[in-house]
């Protein structure tokens, strides 16, 4: 790796931090309870838009894991979700009407909030439809994991995105507020992923799953990335580059072992494919606020018209993290 690349990455990181600093003006406070944050608290950062229906279960799930404080950006919701969040005792909320796309899909806003509030905390960055599972998550709280990572001098924790879907039409079972979305979207693809190394950022680029199988079968190279590093012991020098897919400094992306061993990793169960999705896909298509000219949503809309069923004979039904570990989708590493 040449010094030139090292320098380029350094400039890039600084540029993104400056960008985040500039974008701070786009955020206006709805509820600021950050004074309640204690040293060592685990913080969750998220951006959301019109996800009111998902929020109650989302908050409950992460409270149960042991998240101490939620820092949320509301991107111009019209369903009252900003107010709902503002009423929660452990949530701080900012609102913005600015462009999601021009804040690089929320990354700039969150980089700013992480810069300001995340320093020296374990920081979890997830969307309202993403649910983190990690080794022993049914018996050990998130604090056990972060304590172990601290003791092992590990600063970032990988959790690949696992797309979950229902059996049958995705709009067959309507999602109820407060419900565990995994009750409906309980199936996933167990073994059709590809892993490529990104030489510049040093991260793995993971693709595959039902989105490649169904929406991007003709152009698999364009399928969305599934690699994610959602849990980081934050330092104000850090910056996410593209969603939580990769970050700088580069060493934080090295969440995989290259000498045959397995590092510990988890999974983000992605419950995007519920009945709410068809409406959302149509809306996002007109908003044009998503990655690569919302190409992803175009592909979805096209496919879902004809056959909105992602399930196949070899789909796997989700049971627990141990199942994911046996299937080789995540690993305990040397945590026992």
């Amino acid at each position: 790796m040449s010094w030139r690349d090292t320098y380029r990455r350094r400039l890039m990181r600084k540029r993104y931090l400056i960008r985040a600093f500039r974008k701070r003006r786009e955020l206006s406070v709805v509820a600021d309870r950050t004074s309640a944050i204690k040293p060592g608290d685990i913080l969750l950062f998220s951006t959301q838009r019109n996800e009111k229906i998902r929020l109650p279960y989302f908050l409950k799930y992460y409270r149960d894991l042991g998240v101490n404080h939620f820092l949320m950006v509301d991107n111009d919701s019209s369903d009252g979700s900003a107010r709902y969040l503002g009423d929660q005792p452990d949530v701080s909320v900012w609102r913005t009407g600015a462009s999601y796309k021009r804040s690089r899909f929320g990354v700039d806003w969150l980089n700013w909030l992480q810069f300001k509030y995340g320093h020296d905390h374990w920081v979890l960055v997830v969307d309202p439809d993403e649910f983190l599972v990690y080794p022993f998550c049914d018996t050990r709280p998130l604090r056990a994991l972060t304590d172990w990572l601290d003791a092992s001098s590990i600063k970032s924790f990988s959790a690949m995105l696992l797309d979950m879907y229902p059996k049958g039409r995705i709009d067959a079972q309507p999602y109820q507020e407060g419900q565990n979305p995994l009750e409906i979207a309980s199936w996933f693809d167990a073994g059709n992923y590809t892993y490529k190394k990104n030489a510049f950022f040093g991260n793995l680029w993971i693709q595959g799953g039902p989105r490649t199988r169904i929406f991007f079968a003709d152009t698999p190279a364009k399928a969305p990335a599934l690699n994610k590093i959602p849990l980081v012991k934050w330092d104000r020098k850090y910056a996410f580059i593209s969603s939580t897919h990769m970050m700088l400094p580069r060493g934080l992306n090295q969440v995989y072992d290259e000498w045959g061993g397995e590092k510990a990793s988890g999974a983000l169960l992605h419950t995007k494919f519920l009945d709410t999705f068809t409406v959302k896909a149509a809306e996002e298509l007109t908003r044009q606020q998503h990655y690569a000219a919302s190409m992803e949503y175009k592909a979805y809309a096209e496919q879902l018209k004809d056959n909105p069923d992602l399930w196949c004979r070899f789909s796997e039904k989700y049971i627990n993290w141990r199942q994911l570990e046996i299937l080789g989708l995540m690993s305990k590493g040397n945590w026992a």
């Binding site: 050990r140 059709n192 992923y193 000498w259 397995e262 590092k263 990793s265 196949c312 690993s331 026992a336």
Partner: protein
């Protein structure tokens, strides 16, 4: 009687340490606590006050304890002196830490030690015999100086070690003691401990060990060898280390495992493991059980964790395991068989193979149009798609995934020069692949197609070229697959023998001797067909020599081995 005294070295989670100290005291053990000097004054005072209601809990002079340095030994010495001085009837001294948790009633530990009044429990082995040194320093710990902190100034630490290596620097080991190492958690008798502390040479030993690296793993371990009447070289404290040399941590879900281990004390416990603390600190009085500690089961679990972290699961590529080339520890997860030419030569080869073996038999997985999965399926295990563009996006990942997803069931598939070739080199290098080739058999479908001859000639030339390249890679010195190549002429002379060999190697449980042969395609006129190709200026050579006039006679019938007489 206070036969057992406990030393606790404490630096964090003081609340838990208090709980444990109360437990020991309630069991009738005097406790001396050493609190790291790095703990601030106020916290320390609160802690001391919290325990002030217990007369037999004392605090010793505080030293700063940094990992790998002398401070921990100094702390143990100070605490031991306090303990021995104040409690003359203590016979065994148990060294523990603030994150240790007693697993068995105190009375059981006392009974156990009372039965062994002269035994010192201290893990102690010579440097040559221990595999678990971190950083590659074993004997050098005792012959070099380590003025720099390993944790805070690693580059300086390493540089100074290298410098000493280069200069051939060696410290003298005093009085010719033999350095021993072992777990830092021991249980020594008053006799031995006093002898170590009162030794007239102690100033010299102390000065020497102050500059040894990680002296807490060697000071008492070495000196106990000088004074002890009887050493049991094991620790009564269950403490497991991972591949980086840091202790494994116990959580609530280890409860049953810890109970069954019959160990007296475990380390290290996660401070928030409420269930563990509750379960083990509120245990009933001693049941007088005399069971020996059995750490075996826990050993296995942690050994497996280390194995997973260092070697990983063969044939698995995932988000946290992406081995560099050569470090895969098995590129694929299991054995598989690749057949080239067999389906061309035999009409019902796949069906026959299904009957002859208990494997999954696919068609041409790398056919240009789609992956021909078994039974015409469009998806396979793991939701693997048959779409050509998805497969060809990363053909290696496709195959690695297929083999991983079907662990425990052998996969067989057809390959040929008409297929997508990039996977060829990958399977040639894979020791899990069994590749059997009947070279030139691609000519059979051409011969039977009855297509326009000019076109056939072009196609034949192309296929031959591709197959020749594949055969070259199979014959390369880097090839690791099990490879068998026959020319077609060779093969049809006696097809049953090679087939039997291949089936035997697959190791099917179903049958031992083939009773049925696959049906060979009618090859009448094939010799002439080859001659026609030659006449057109093409040179078909991969199939071997076929005489023009004498058509090969398919030996479809089984020749019974003559010596097999029942």
């Amino acid at each position: 009687m206070n036969s057992v005294g406990v030393i606790m070295l404490v630096h964090t989670a003081l609340g838990r340490a208090e709980q444990v100290a109360r437990h020991w005291a309630a069991g009738g053990c005097p406790v001396v606590i050493h609190v790291d000097r790095k703990v601030d004054r106020r916290t320390y005072n609160t802690f001391v006050k919290a325990l002030s209601d217990l007369p037999d809990v004392r605090f010793s002079h505080r030293h700063a304890c940094e990992w790998g340095t002398w401070g921990i030994v100094a702390a143990s010495q100070a605490a031991a002196e306090t303990l021995l001085g104040h409690y003359p009837d203590v016979r065994h001294v148990y060294l523990s830490s603030g994150s240790c948790l007693p697993l068995r009633p105190v009375a059981e530990l006392k009974t156990y030690l009372d039965a062994r009044p002269d035994t010192d429990f201290i893990e102690s082995a010579t440097t040559a015999d221990v595999p678990w040194t971190v950083g590659g320093l074993d004997m050098e710990r005792f012959t070099m100086r380590f003025p720099f902190s390993w944790k805070r100034h690693r580059p300086l630490f390493d540089a100074y070690v290298n410098l000493q290596r280069k200069l051939g620097f060696k410290r003298r080991i005093p009085n010719g003691i033999t350095p021993h190492m072992g777990s830092q958690w021991w249980c020594l008798t008053r006799r031995t401990l006093t002898a170590i502390l009162m030794d007239t040479d102690r100033p010299e030993y102390d000065e020497y060990f102050q500059k040894v690296w990680i002296p807490d793993e060697s000071y008492f371990q070495t000196l106990a060898r000088l004074h002890s009447k009887r050493i049991e070289s094991r620790s009564l404290t269950l403490s497991k280390f991972d591949f980086q040399g840091k202790p494994h941590i116990f959580y609530d879900d280890h409860l049953q495992l810890l109970r069954r281990s019959d160990c007296f004390v475990a380390r290290k416990i996660w401070p928030h493991a409420d269930r563990l603390y509750e379960a083990f600190l509120t245990d009933a009085d001693g049941r007088g059980k005399m069971a020996e500690p059995q750490p075996g089961k826990i050993d296995r679990i942690f050994a497996k964790a280390v194995e997973r972290r260092t070697r990983g699961r063969p044939g698995l590529i995932m988000q946290s395991r992406k081995p560099n080339e050569g470090w895969e520890n098995g590129v694929t997860a299991g054995r598989y068989s690749v057949f080239q030419g067999f389906a061309d030569l035999f009409e019902d080869f796949n069906d026959w193979l299904v009957r002859a073996t208990d494997t999954r038999v696919h068609g041409h997985l790398f056919a240009p149009e789609r992956a021909e999965f078994a039974d015409g399926q469009t998806v396979m295990s793991g939701a693997l798609s048959d779409v050509a563009s998805v497969r060809d996006y990363d053909p290696q990942a496709f195959l690695i995934n297929l083999i991983w997803n079907t662990r425990g069931e052998r996969q067989c598939w057809q390959f040929g020069p008409a297929d997508k070739q990039p996977i060829g080199w990958f399977i040639a290098k894979d020791p899990n692949a069994q590749i059997s080739v009947i070279s030139g058999a691609w000519a059979v479908p051409l011969f039977r197609s009855g297509k326009d001859f000019a076109e056939l000639r072009k196609e034949a030339a192309q296929l031959q070229k591709v197959e020749a390249e594949f055969l070259n890679s199979l014959r390369s010195p880097y090839t690791k697959a099990r490879i068998r190549i026959w020319t077609m002429a060779e093969f049809i002379e006696s097809p049953m023998e090679p087939l039997q060999t291949i089936i035997d190697e697959i190791g099917s449980k179903r049958i031992t001797r083939l009773t049925e042969a696959p049906r060979m395609t009618d090859l009448k006129g094939f010799g002439q067909f080859l001659q026609n190709l030659k006449n057109q200026g093409m040179h078909p050579y991969l199939m071997g020599d076929f005489p023009i006039d004498q058509d090969p006679v398919p030996t479809n019938t089984l020749t019974r081995k003559p010596y097999l007489v029942r």
